[in-house]
Symmetry: C2
Subunit: 503 residues, 2 copies
Amino acid sequence: MRISTLLSLVLLATTLSYAQDINQLTDEYIQENGVQIIQDFKTLLEIPNVAYDLPSINKNADYIKSELEKRGIESKLLRMIGTPPIVYGYYPVKGARRTLAFYVHYDGQPADKTNWTNDPWDPKYYSKALYEGGEEIGFPNSSEEINEEHRIYARSAGDDKAPIITILSALDMIKANKLKISSNLVFFFEGQEEAGSMQLQQYLADNRNLVDEIDLWLFCDGPIHQSKKPQLVFGVRGVTGMEITTYGPNRPLHSGHYGNWAPVPGQLLSELIASMKDDEGNVVIKGFYDDVEPLSDLEKEALANIPLVDEDLKKELGINDPEGRESYNERLLRPSLTIKGLSSGNTGKLARNVVPATAIASIGMRLVKGCDPEKQKDLVEAHIRSQGFHIVREDPDHETRMKYPKIAKVTRSGGYPAARTSMDLPIIQDVITRSREVAGDDLILLPTLGGSLPLYLFTDELKKPAIIVPIANHDNNQHAADENMRIGNLWYGIKLMSALMTF
Amino acid sequence: MRISTLLSLVLLATTLSYAQDINQLTDEYIQENGVQIIQDFKTLLEIPNVAYDLPSINKNADYIKSELEKRGIESKLLRMIGTPPIVYGYYPVKGARRTLAFYVHYDGQPADKTNWTNDPWDPKYYSKALYEGGEEIGFPNSSEEINEEHRIYARSAGDDKAPIITILSALDMIKANKLKISSNLVFFFEGQEEAGSMQLQQYLADNRNLVDEIDLWLFCDGPIHQSKKPQLVFGVRGVTGMEITTYGPNRPLHSGHYGNWAPVPGQLLSELIASMKDDEGNVVIKGFYDDVEPLSDLEKEALANIPLVDEDLKKELGINDPEGRESYNERLLRPSLTIKGLSSGNTGKLARNVVPATAIASIGMRLVKGCDPEKQKDLVEAHIRSQGFHIVREDPDHETRMKYPKIAKVTRSGGYPAARTSMDLPIIQDVITRSREVAGDDLILLPTLGGSLPLYLFTDELKKPAIIVPIANHDNNQHAADENMRIGNLWYGIKLMSALMTF
């Protein structure tokens, strides 16, 4: 190559943005190493990973720790007896701009093999999604054989082993290109997320010294937006609930001999439930929406830019008239009250001619930023009282029954609050800018997921910003049979992780 | 005995009422034959009698037929293949005042032996009710050993073999005393009442010649009044019902991702149910009470004379506030609407964080004289429509789902109308007068039972008066474990049957 040509290339490179570097460099790296990356992913997916299967879980943890160590990351297993360990890795950087933590969970949902096309822990490589007619084509031997629409089918392919491979590949890519890692990196890989993260709080409390310097938690989990566009997610809804039992006679009665005289618990319960919402599906319980923390202007703007999925969802789910008069995106920013279950007597072939003794409603509540789980339940209880019910915590005794016309047993669930990290924080603005360089202007900034994760442990207890950085395809079948990861999303993940390690 | 004494006794006898004769003659007859009557009852109770056990059922029928024939009653078994036969007996009387039919059912409820103190078909003799501390004392060998509080424990002791023994004993008593039977007597003993009397209508249609001359049907079944007072019952409520299914999304959805947006079927169902009644438990469905046939003055007077059981029932059943503001007796004279069952998703430990796809209510309806079962269901359906629901008969397809905001699947049950025989009819007035001679002024005249029997087959289809003549103690545990018959009630039954055969 002539000097002039070389010089002009160097000049050209300096005029290119850093982002183009990352995209281009990663593309090139994938072109060279894609076959191996997919092979490594397969190896990771072959290790069964249900949280209660501790021997297998430990194999996952040991394997991931060794993969981190291979890449020069100081690693250890944080252990608590009888629980899946946390794989903890630390990579200190001289003159680091910040400390970033990458959270991933390496355990997966249990799988009922009879519903799967293949064994959940025997990964298979497909030409495209099964539901689009994809066929098994065998794992690739050269990069020419790889297409972005290809998919790997296995448990945890999307939820949540893909981020592990993208993080390891990003570290490899950065090393291969001698790029500079700009932050101290913490790797925090949990092994019991799908089992409810029961010990996560304790793990964090026991290892405060390892997490205290972290400036931002990046939760590498979940799928991109239903519209197939990439997204960053800034919060989750909290969750709580209660069970309400109403009472009729102290034993089921003959509906002929007593029907029209004995109080009917299903009637009383229905009237109570009906009193909780208006005709449009809004909750009318006093104060129910009062504590909702409003969005900032930036967040409102982000919300306005999220594609509307309402019409697609309505078609997909056979719904003519959703609850409320706002969009789906707006509805997720309100606390919810859902009748998850109803039971009284029997229906169908088992229905008998009785006035049942009790009726039960299981009520699920989702919370948004600002709502306290206990206060929200208190409001529901105040409403129940306002409807003339005496609230008890155990089934009422005879004296209580004789004293009150209407009795409701309320059994409160635990739960936890919502979490939302402000988009206005400078560190978050930096992440958004950097992510856009990879994801493009399509990047959706989602104020909250509808679902719940104990993100509050980080935002409220550790008091650190925490956002979700999803990479899996929206149709990855997480938690279900035939879970899968689209290759194009795997490549997106490697670019995004590389970008986030180097800004 | 001197002639003068004999004469004075004869003179005394003629000044005694006929009723005293029956009571006294029956007392004397029982004094002499009580041991044998109880023994015969035991023999009858020893034959298992669940309707679907055809070999045993046939043994019952054969035995009862032979017992009738022993007493000079021309008898036969009316048969329909695969069903329990009807034992039909006819006793013609020269110059009969009328033709009376005695209906009894000889089949009994199935019995779960594990809940019984003794084998249900191995009768035992007790000193008093088990729940009052009664002890097994063995069947009596002399009338001195017999006490009215004694009880026989066995399946069908109260429901409904006791009337068979009282009828047979009444025939014996009448013969022993050479009394005059005043009516042609028809005996119509059914063998599948507890299995739902499925073929009763067909049996009646196939044997119209055998039943057409009957002037009054006496249904010897059921217990006396809860207040322990004897009663005649002039009607039963009809029965029908429906199942209502409401729809949310076409599959259960994650209550986080969709809660507050997806329609909640349990909420929609609750709102619909709540709209059906007012705060006092009265049905507000348009026209629901319109067809109720009012009571005559005589019936109103009878109603006013029925002891109030409300306070006792409230205490027994742990109820502070019954439905409605009328008495229990009055409430049974209105059609009822009871939520017999509710189901949606799950409650308790099985509750999951979903928006369920459907919610189901099983609705039981009791009817009173004047209400047509089909019209009553039409009224409920009209109400469902008035609440904005589109009614379907099968689960809605996608097109239907997309077309209507609220959809309810209504599955109508069959059922049959109420029946009530007017107390004002002369033949009924005669029966009341005659029964009072045995039962005394305490005799309760109950316009209707709360429960349902297909009495309309007789009152509406055969167009003949039909009343219920119960003899069993109120605490005979019918349909339940440890069913029993109080000896005093058995004696009451013999007197009443004797009286009704001779007026």
